[in-house]
């Protein structure tokens, strides 16, 4: 894996001469894309936060993925197998780059540097994606709400290199992300506080165990 490649800087310097990328802006609450209608799409979130959301027949909402800056998403990553609607909703003001995957793969004849770099690094970007998905699976296979919460906190904590951090999701969304009932999650959160495992001040979580 080429560790010299800095994704952060790369996206920041976005400029694409060819006509293969479309750049769009969305305001909070807008639907960025749907996976059933828009096939073969690859999207890059340049700015903002968004959720991949599924509504099932029982009315349950699940946050399948939570995207922040530089996240890759789109139907290429999710060849739809079920008939559930999959929507990407903007949680804040978002800037998104849209590609058609098949066109993206071919080398750019416009000498478009961004595009070529993207193609070149696509495998490793996709591998990062896989790692995220595997982490998500590990989270979801936790048997209890408590274990889900603790693992989720631990993941964020590791990512932020700190025992104290802001939740990137509202509690309502977190419940949908962990695939548990919100009120049950709140109860468990209270128990975790009582057991001196975590503390919570507003939006801020503090891990108290070693």
């Amino acid at each position: 894996m080429n560790s010299n490649f800095n994704i952060e800087n790369f996206y920041y310097n976005f400029s694409c001469n060819c006509n293969k990328a479309q750049k769009k802006t969305f305001s909070k609450g807008q639907i960025i894309t749907t996976y059933i209608q828009k096939r073969n799409q690859l999207c890059i979130l340049l700015k903002g936060n968004a959720d991949l959301v599924r509504y099932d027949l029982n009315g349950n909402r699940t946050i399948v993925e939570h995207f922040s800056k530089n996240a890759l998403f789109g139907e290429v990553f999710y060849k739809v197998t079920t008939n559930n609607e999959l929507l990407v909703e903007a949680k804040s003001k978002c800037t998104v780059l849209f590609y058609i995957y098949d066109k993206l793969k071919d080398p750019c004849t416009h000498g478009c540097e961004f595009h070529n770099t993207l193609t070149e690094h696509l495998p490793e970007l996709i591998l990062n994606k896989i790692t995220e998905l595997n982490t998500r699976i590990e989270l979801l296979t936790q048997r209890t709400t408590r274990d889900k919460l603790l693992m989720y906190f631990s993941l964020i904590s590791t990512r932020k290199l700190s025992k104290t951090f802001e939740l990137p999701l509202s509690l309502t969304d977190l419940a949908d992300y962990l695939s548990v009932d919100r009120s049950a999650m709140m109860r468990e959160l209270k128990l975790l506080k009582e057991d001196k495992m975590v503390d919570k001040i507003g939006n801020r979580i503090i891990l108290l165990y070693e």
Copy 2:
């Protein structure tokens, strides 16, 4: 996505002249690889069945993934973030191809056709992998054991193009795959039978609804 490419035939005709691939055989129960020790590894399961298994601190076993013929696995797909042991266990006699991912990426100077084809098609193979993982996530976000079972059956049914099919996993393993208690799953299975939703004769499942 290049749909002319037939993975099935491709693996079948495996022959690699270069020294980059290692081919090994495992008997049932053997550990094929561990993700903590073997970094940067990409494996192809040429023959047999295997499970990616995690044992957590509470002694719970989870089947993170179930691999059959042609499956890709290895630590490249699972950059380890937690300290849980991840083992790939052979469920039957297995033949496995091992690559070091970094070496695989570079074009082969030995004119090794298999290797070059593999490199060329890696992105789409990896995208297939992502689709599997997303399906798995959708399965795990089902809220109840009943819904997990029904979705699992539905997935197999779609794959086999039939309302009747053999379970590819034992019931014990299925419970670990769905991340539920085995006895609770058995109970739910009985209820599904009583409700005339599914029938089960030995290892064979028959879907009865519409």
